[in-house]
Symmetry: C2
Subunit: 419 residues, 2 copies
């Protein structure tokens, strides 16, 4: 259990970070600037426009939503990132520019054209990222004015403003940075990241944006491999409500300013980078879950001994997305019966007599039968953190999955949010 | 839209019944008796034990939960129903006798032994059905006393007491009966049914019990075929919370008392029976959805033009189980964006440019692009019934699916329900 103070707020992460944590978020690595402003796109006057800028072209990779209805900015980015470095990413919150057709795609292009012109950089190195209401066109006049305003504000410590400007229903910013020594070349490297949640959070990149910067010098193909693997083990293993968004993106930039000898193969240096990147992603993913709409408890689901990793994953997701399990957790009820029912819904061919369920360290269901040892002691009322361990007894497939409970406030936030 | 008064309560069914509806529920067909009592198994003193009795052995078929952890009564019934008629079914609510191991299976057997002895019938024609908390053993002393008490109360108009005794968190009884003329043989036949919901309601038979009686004379294999098909189109197309239970069962009995010439093949008579059976199942399924925990609105999802029926089904389920769609409906918000995001989550290979979404008759998303015509007029605030029509433009696969919204009360009911 780790409590981290960020921007005066305590963030509960449910994990022990193994890296040396430093201040500065996305601008902690050398060579990055950022800014965040309220351009007027959000009607409540909150910050809604963020800009990330790299002094030098950064090698860049990204992972995008698998939703069929990919938003315009994702379509644009997917094209550009293939063969180009990144110099700037402009991010707006409030309007997703999704389901906006040809017109939306043209608007996204126009914004990046303008930004490239004002920053005097190649438009192919400029990206736009959007989050918010689906189906509305970007307010182009406001957006253009916003770009004029934000560029002069770019600064080395603009990380907090930027991290704030990308939020929607999030209640707190989510940022982190760490540094570490590359074991082979000995250089000190920094990685920073910021993210936003907080509804429609689900495996395979739900309404979730994350931007990870670094001053690494590393081959693009290796960055791609590391990012995909890290996202798979972190952002793709969280769920708030089982829905998947049109706009999810994780960007990973490396501008080479750490001056390390370029990492071109999978050795010790690569492994160290992967470990740090995974930790950054895990921190941000957990912070998103904990700030999930209406969340009051952080739930870790560990499935062990499944036939294989696919079945372990399926079981963990079924539990994580069960409204009955999530409301029981909200109520602090050790309702292992609902967990068992969720496992049983998976359509697996395994034997019930091998399955056990452990709730916060106490075995409540052992090899297919209830243990019936629930006392006032093991009610979960006061636990902010709930651990669900499932032992399948079938093979060696195991996963860890993170989710939150389902509260009145989840319903309130999502029933009152209006189109 | 049809409002039906049952036991002094108005039931909203969202459908027009095409059959001649009669009173009497499960005892409307000739030759059935029923009873319902409070045996003390429920701590709140409500009715918790129901008995259905057929004067003559009834040909019987059933469909059971596909959950891996099938409850003891299901394991017992699955064996007995194969080669035996049914004379009696005893049903208790409050304790599910699920995840109770060998001991639970033995208890279920003991209860049916006792019932067979007291009623002086073959134990292979006796079934037990249970719903309630998972993991607790049946309170055998109370159960045995309950059997002594309930047998003398069996009567022709015991349908309402029985329908009440099978409920758990349901707020109202669910029963229906109809009669119709067989087109070929000309006999008048009656079918009656009762059911309970109301949480863990999900496709493939979630915590849901339904008992359907008839005075038909019909071949067992044809009854099986008709029931499977009817369940597939009704009980398996509803969802309250996406969870699936360990105890779901639908029984269908035919005792031959209508004296019709035995239906032994799929002709006009069979088709008429199937239509009536499907209508009975559809009524009960919709009544379960409308009485779903915390439900305030009835949502019908129709997917048309999918590649095939499997994809149509997948899309409808994804929408029906989306908490974001369900909370939007609760809030009366025509949030087609969440519907589109749910469709897009399905991992289909279809083209977004063909997809349209119609909400209560108004096109809000047309061929991949937002229509942006939401006015105060088409907000859904005052609609108890919400129709979501999705046009996929890919092929001829179509389904209809029923669900409810997600309200504060759903969370309340499920957070306060204690193990």
């Amino acid at each position: 259990l780790q409590l981290l103070e960020i921007n005066g707020k305590i963030i509960f992460t449910g994990m022990v970070l193994k890296m040396e944590i430093i201040k500065g978020g996305i601008t902690a690595p050398s060579g990055y600037k950022a800014a965040g402003i309220a351009s007027g796109m959000k009607s409540n006057g909150k910050k809604d426009l963020a800009l990330i800028y790299s002094d030098l072209p950064a090698t860049a990779v990204a992972v995008f939503s698998t939703n069929l209805f990919k938003a315009a900015p994702l379509l644009l980015s997917a094209k550009r990132i293939k063969n180009n470095d990144i110099r700037a990413i402009i991010i707006n919150s409030g309007i997703a520019n999704a389901c906006t057709g040809e017109h939306g795609l043209k608007n996204a292009g126009t914004i990046t054209d303008l930004l490239a012109e004002k920053l005097d950089i190649d438009v192919n190195q400029v990206h736009i990222s959007s989050t918010g209401v689906i189906g509305k066109q970007l307010p182009m006049d406001l957006y253009k004015k916003g770009i004029e305003q934000i560029i002069p504000l770019l600064k080395k410590d603009g990380n907090l403003e930027a991290a704030e400007a990308i939020l929607t229903t999030d209640t707190t910013i989510k940022e982190i940075a760490c540094q570490f020594k590359l074991p082979v070349t000995g250089n000190i490297v920094k990685i920073g990241g910021m993210a936003k949640g907080s509804g429609m959070i689900h495996p395979h990149m739900a309404t979730m944006l994350a931007f990870i910067t670094s001053d690494l010098n590393m081959e693009k193909s290796l960055m791609e491999k590391a990012l995909k693997k890290a996202v798979d083990l972190t952002f793709n293993r969280i769920s708030v409500d089982g829905d998947q968004s049109t706009n999810d993106s994780v960007f990973f930039l490396a501008n080479g300013q750490a001056k390390n000898k370029r990492i071109v193969e999978e050795g010790e240096d690569y492994e160290q980078v992967f470990k740090a990147l995974k930790e950054i992603c895990a921190y941000l993913a957990r912070a998103i879950v904990m700030d999930g709409e209406g969340a009051t408890r952080f739930i870790t689901i560990r499935v062990k001994g499944a036939k294989n990793i696919q079945e372990a994953d399926q079981i963990a997701r079924q539990i994580a997305n069960s409204n009955l399990v999530k409301t029981a957790c909200f109520g602090g009820d050790p309702n292992w019966g609902r967990i068992v029912a969720a496992i049983g819904s998976c359509n697996l061919s395994c034997s019930p007599q091998e399955v056990s369920v452990i709730l916060n360290g106490k075995i409540l269901f052992k090899e297919g039968v209830a243990v019936n040892n629930i006392t006032e002691d093991n009610k979960l009322i006061n636990d902010r953190e709930i651990n669900i361990d499932v032992i399948m007894g079938q093979g060696s497939g195991s996963v860890e999955f993170w989710t939150s409970d389902l509260s009145y406030d989840y319903v309130k936030i999502n029933a009152q949010y209006h189109t």
